[in-house]
Subunit: 355 residues, 2 copies
C-alpha cells in the first residue's frame, strides 16, 4: 500500500487539517469531528450530510455557500456517530431547522435516525431524507434496499441552492425527496481500492476483469465480466439506468409535529422518452477525467437514441472510493425547479460556479 | 492495461468527441485536431496552448471564458504538429494577435516555433512564452533545461483573465513571462502510468519505492527513494522549491516587428520570506483529493515556517499523467496584478468560478 499519508489511523484527521488550512471559510471541529460553514445566513434551513470518509470530495468538499452547511465524516468507509451529527446540527441550526441528507447504508441510516431524535429533543426542527439510487443491486453488503450513490451529490447541490434561496424546511424536504427519487446510478470498478487500516486491496480483480454494479465501498456488484470497450461498458450502464422499472420501497421520515417516525411508501418512476436529465459521469478516484469523456460521449449517444435530453452535465471525481479505478453514471430527471437550483451559484472547495 | 477506452489509437479523438457533446460552447476541429472557444470577444488577444494529451484537464479542459481561446492536443505524450497550432491560431486570432503558451519540451518548443513563423507569415501578430518551472532536473528525457509543469495551469488562468480584461499582446506576453518566471514545481510518483499505445507501464516502481522529481510523462526524476510519510515527502518537495536558487537560462522570443527570433537571458529569482504565493497541489491523475489535502496541510506548515504566505490555493487534478498516482506541488510568487487576474471569473470545463 502506497498512499500520501502519515499513519492509517490519522488519514481523516490530517485531511481535515489540510481543509481547514486551505479553506478558512470552513470551520473544522475535531472532537467529535465535523466541519461546517460559519458564514451561513442566519435564517436559512441548515443542510447536513455525512458518511464514511474515502469518498472525497463528497461530503466535506461540498460545504459552503449554496450547498451543505455541515458535513460529518466518519472513519474510512465507516458511518459517523450520532454525536457528530448532533453537535454539527447544533452548530449550524437556525430557527428554520435542519435537514439531514442520508445515503442508504445501514450504519448511516441508524445513526442519522438517532441523531434526528437527539436534535428533536433539543427543540430543533429536523427532517431527514434518504438517497437510494443505485440500480445495480437491491440489498447488498451494508445495505437494505438500494445504495446511495451519485444522486447524493446532485441532491446536495440542488437542495443547497434552494435553502440558500429561502426555502423552508418542508419545501427543502419535499425538494430533496423529489430529487432523490428522480436520480438513478450505477458504477463499474476496474481496480479495487485499499482501505488504509486494512493495508491491502478490498478485493482482487484479474487483469481482464471488471466488476459491474460495484458499490462505493467496493461492495460486490451485479457481476464480474471480461473487460470490454468503453462503448460496451457505457451502453450497458446507461441501459441499466434507463430501462430500470418503477421502484417501490418503504422509508421512514420524521414527523416534526408529532415527534415520531412515519413510514412512507415511495415509488420512483422510470425515465421515459422526452425527459430532461442532469448527467453525472463520476470517477471512482483513480480514473482520470480524459477517460470520463469517452464514457460521456457514448452516454450522450445512448440517451439521444432513447429520446432523453441531457440538459446539464457534471464530469469529474465527485463521489469516489479512495483511489479505485472506474466510474459511475447518474441520470437525474430534471424539471424547471431542479434546473433552476442546479444553475444557481455555489462556492465550496470542490464544486464552484457563479461565485 | 485496463482503461475506459475503445482502441488505443482513438483515445484522444473520443475524448474530444465527449468534450464536444458535453460542452457545446467549445468547438472541436477534427483534422487537424484543435479545440477552441467560439464565443470570445472580437478584439481580445487570443491565447493558445497545447502539448501531448494525457495531462487532462490541461489543456483542453481550460478552453473558455477567462482562460484559453484554443488548445492543440497531440497524441498521448506526443507534441502536436505545427499545422494544428497554425489552424487553431487562424480560427481564434483577432487584430490584436495570438499568444502561444508553451511547456518546455523539445518537441513542443520546436513545433510551436515553426507555428509562430507560419502564423507570422499570414500577417497575424504572434508571440510565444515558455514555461519551464520544474526544479527537479535540468536537462532530462525530452527536455533541455527545466520541464514545464504546474505553473502552466496558473499562467493560463492568469494571462487568460488579463486577455479577457483587454490587455494587448505585449502586456499579455510580459505578464505571461513574469508569471512563468515566478512559478516553481516538483512532482513525485507513487506508481507509473500506462500509455495506451504501449500497453504496459512506462516504468516499474517497487511496492515501497517512490520516484522523486518525476516528469509528467513519467520521465525519470532526481532519485528513487523508499516510500516515506506524506509529511516527509511534502517537506522534501517544499524545500526543493523554496531553497532553489536563482535560475538563469537563454530563451528565444519572437520579435513581432523584425519578424525574427531574439535570444533573451532570463533569471528567475528564488522565493524569499514575506513573499505571497499561489499554491497548487496537483494530483498526477490516480491520487484522490483526500490525499492532496494531507500534502497541503504539511505544505502550509513548511511555507509558514519559511515566512511564505499562501495567498490562494488550488487543490485537485489539473495537470496529470494519465492514471499515475502521485502529486506535484507548485508555488508561484504572486503580486497584486497576478492575484487580481487569479481572482477574476473563469468558465471552462475544468476550472470555473465567478461565472
Amino acid at each position: 500500500m502506497k498512499k500520501l499519508m502519515n499513519a492509517p489511523d490519522d488519514v481523516v484527521k490530517e485531511q481535515l487539517a489540510g481543509m481547514a488550512k486551505a479553506h478558512p471559510e470552513i470551520t473544522v471541529n475535531i472532537d467529535p469531528s465535523f466541519i461546517y460553514r460559519a458564514d451561513a445566513p442566519n435564517k436559512k434551513v441548515a443542510l447536513i450530510s455525512g458518511g464514511g470518509s474515502g469518498h472525497e470530495p463528497m461530503h466535506t468538499g461540498f460545504v459552503g455557500m449554496g450547498m451543505l452547511d455541515g458535513a460529518c465524516p466518519g472513519q474510512i468507509f465507516t458511518s459517523p456517530t450520532p454525536d457528530q451529527m448532533y453537535e454539527c446540527a447544533k452548530a449550524v441550526a437556525s430557527d428554520n431547522g435542519v435537514l439531514f441528507l442520508v445515503k442508504n447504508y445501514t450504519g448511516d441510516v441508524m445513526n442519522f435516525e438517532t441523531a434526528v431524535e437527539m436534535v428533536h429533543g433539543d427543540g430543533i426542527k429536523v427532517q431527514s431524507i434518504l438517497i437510494d439510487d443505485d440500480v445495480a443491486v437491491k440489498d447488498s453488503l451494508y445495505t437494505a434496499g438500494r445504495r446511495g450513490m451519485g444522486t447524493t451529490v446532485l441532491v446536495e447541490k440542488i437542495v443547497g441552492a434552494a435553502a440558500e434561496a429561502g426555502y423552508n424546511l418542508k419545501q427543502c424536504t419535499d425538494l430533496a425527496r423529489k430529487t432523490s427519487q428522480n436520480g438513478r446510478s450505477i458504477g463499474v470498478a476496474l481496480t479495487s481500492c485499499t482501505v488504509p487500516a486494512a493495508g491491502k486491496p478490498t478485493f482482487e480483480l484479474a487483469d481482464d476483469e471488471v466488476e459491474m454494479g460495484i458499490g462505493i465501498h467496493g461492495e460486490p456488484g451485479t457481476k464480474r465480466i471480461q473487460m470490454k470497450t468503453v462503448n460496451e461498458i457505457t451502453e450497458h450502464m446507461a441501459r441499466c439506468i434507463i430501462e430500470d422499472g418503477a421502484y417501490t420501497r418503504t422509508v421512514r421520515e420524521w414527523d416534526t409535529e408529532k415527534g415520531e417516525w412515519e413510514e412512507k411508501s415511495l415509488t420512483d418512476e422510470p425515465l421515459k422518452s422526452c425527459d430532461k436529465v442532469i448527467a453525472l459521469v463520476n470517477s471512482m478516484g483513480g480514473t482520470p477525467v480524459s477517460e470520463l469523456y469517452a464514457v460521456y460521449s457514448k452516454l450522450a449517444d445512448v440517451c439521444k437514441s432513447k429520446g432523453i435530453k441531457i440538459a446539464r452535465n457534471l464530469i469529474g471525481p465527485y463521489i469516489t472510493s479512495l483511489e479505485m479505478q472506474g466510474c459511475s453514471v447518474t441520470l437525474l430527471k430534471a424539471d424547471k425547479e431542479i434546473l433552476k437550483f442546479w444553475d444557481a451559484p455555489v462556492k465550496t472547495p470542490s464544486l464552484r460556479w457563479g461565485a
